[in-house]
Amino acid sequence: MSNISQLSLTKIVKGIKKKEFTSEEVTKVFIANSKKSKKLNTYITECFDEALISAKNFDKKKDYNGLLSGIPIAIKDLFCTKDIKTTAGSKILNNFIPTYESTVTKNLWSQGAFLLGKLNCDEFAMGSSNETSFFGNVINPYGEKIVPGGSSGGSASALAAELTPATIGTDTGGSIRQPASFTGTVGLKPTYGRCSRWGIVAFASSLDQAGPMTKNVEDCALLLQAMSSYDPKDSTSIDIKVENYSSKLTEKVKGLKIGIPKEYRVDDMPVEIDSLWKKGIDYLKDAGAVIKNISLPHTMYALPTYYIVAPAEASSNLARYDGVKYGHRAKGNNLIEMYENTRSEGFGNEVKRRILIGTYVLSSGYYDAYYLKAQKVRQLIKNDFDKSFTEVDAILTPSTPSSAFKIGDKTDDPISMYLNDIFTVPVNLSGLPAISVPAGYDKNNLPLGLQLIGKPFDEQTILNLSLAIEKRVNFKKNFKNWWC
């Protein structure tokens, strides 16, 4: 039965339905794999005993009506799970037990899935390498010294290493797509408003969005469908019918117009990334798509804009961590001192940097120069996309400017770390859906991904195009399970 873990989510769902194996058998396989994976450091909280009970209950009830009937699933520890510790990768939430369940996870459970565990991530999802987590680095299955990307690094590693059949992450500036690209997996950031943000530990509320991370595109369509919903508890979630992405999934993309933005050909871009992009263009041409050169002239301003907007929102969102109602508390001689010491002890360096940048750009006298300016540029960035989407159906770019790097390589220079997200950030600023699909390997045998950006609420088209690429790439993982 050990080959169950190699199956796609879709095949496991079907296998359980056809009684080829039970939910308990499936769950045991993933628990066994997870137990052997300590070196990868993907789990913050293991829920293996509870998962086994859920699996046994499922096998007794045999309710196969859900999209994810009988599926154990480990998720990023940024989703609040009722009665189960939720840390956001931070010391300050080290002991936080939510009294409620996030809407996205509730949706998964109502489709028949159950929780296998909570996965490591960058602290408050702030990071691109999973090195900012209070719970330590996550390791990429592609190498003992290689980062999995971030912030959904634990999710990406656990998925690639077959510790969970699929997983979910969150993406504020690339936190699903970049780690997916670094681990040879599929990751999709839905349109802003497609998935409810309710119960997700907030980082930057106008950018955050939850999304699926899976072994292949078919699984991605299935999981997206399961997790999406309109939610009255999130006033920014949108009341648009959730598509049956799976049944509409097709690799027939003939005649679709694909934009190639010239501004994404950045300085110092490795030759390999450029040739990967060209291959992607060839795959889509082969599938009958029409390639068009387009211009997104404000692309170079996206990262600086992001590093005003995201820290500004983060500094407000993280004001709630004061050591009073929940989380870590430090000693202090008076209330203010207690706040200051709590936040000093509870937050890591990257989170402090971002809170302080956010505080600075919002502080009296600087608001117009920074925050207001950034919101104007954000409008220009969005206008670029709006204009392009009158001419094309989707946009193809590389997912990242490089493959996964070594642990410690970029921790000394925040800017070099931020540059990882150069191709993913404009999408969040514009609220668009985008997917990263594995497209090949670099000379060091590390995976590389291609990104497809879609029109608002047109996840279907980018899924279809990704399927067309996936069929042509025929990507196979090429690491041994060295950590066992």
Partner: protein, 95 residues
């Protein structure tokens, strides 16, 4: 704009994060390089551009303001670092 140590001290007060001298000095360096990076935006003319306030084209839905949970005081208090039976406890505020 470079962020000198006094500015770091000022904003860390606003953000309620205590910092030692070493941290202040490290952050002054880090934040200055981040601000320099951000200031690329100054090259761009944004006169007459309306700032983006929402990326959602739809108007936000409102809902009836009614209580739909509650009666979980004890569970909520359980998460607090210090409490008595009904209250969160904080260091003394008034002498």
């Amino acid at each position: 704009m470079s962020i000198d140590k006094d500015t770091v001290k000022h904003i860390s007060k606003l953000a309620k994060i205590s910092l030692d001298e070493k941290k202040i000095s490290d952050l002054s360096k880090d934040l200055s390089s981040i601000m320099k990076f951000i200031e690329k935006l100054n090259k761009l003319n944004t006169d007459n551009i309306t700032p983006l306030t929402s990326i959602i084209n739809a108007s936000l839905k409102s809902r009836i303001d009614e209580v739909n949970d509650g009666k979980i005081r004890d569970q909520i208090l359980k998460n607090s670092p210090e409490n008595n039976e009904e209250f969160f406890v904080v260091p003394k505020v008034i002498d």
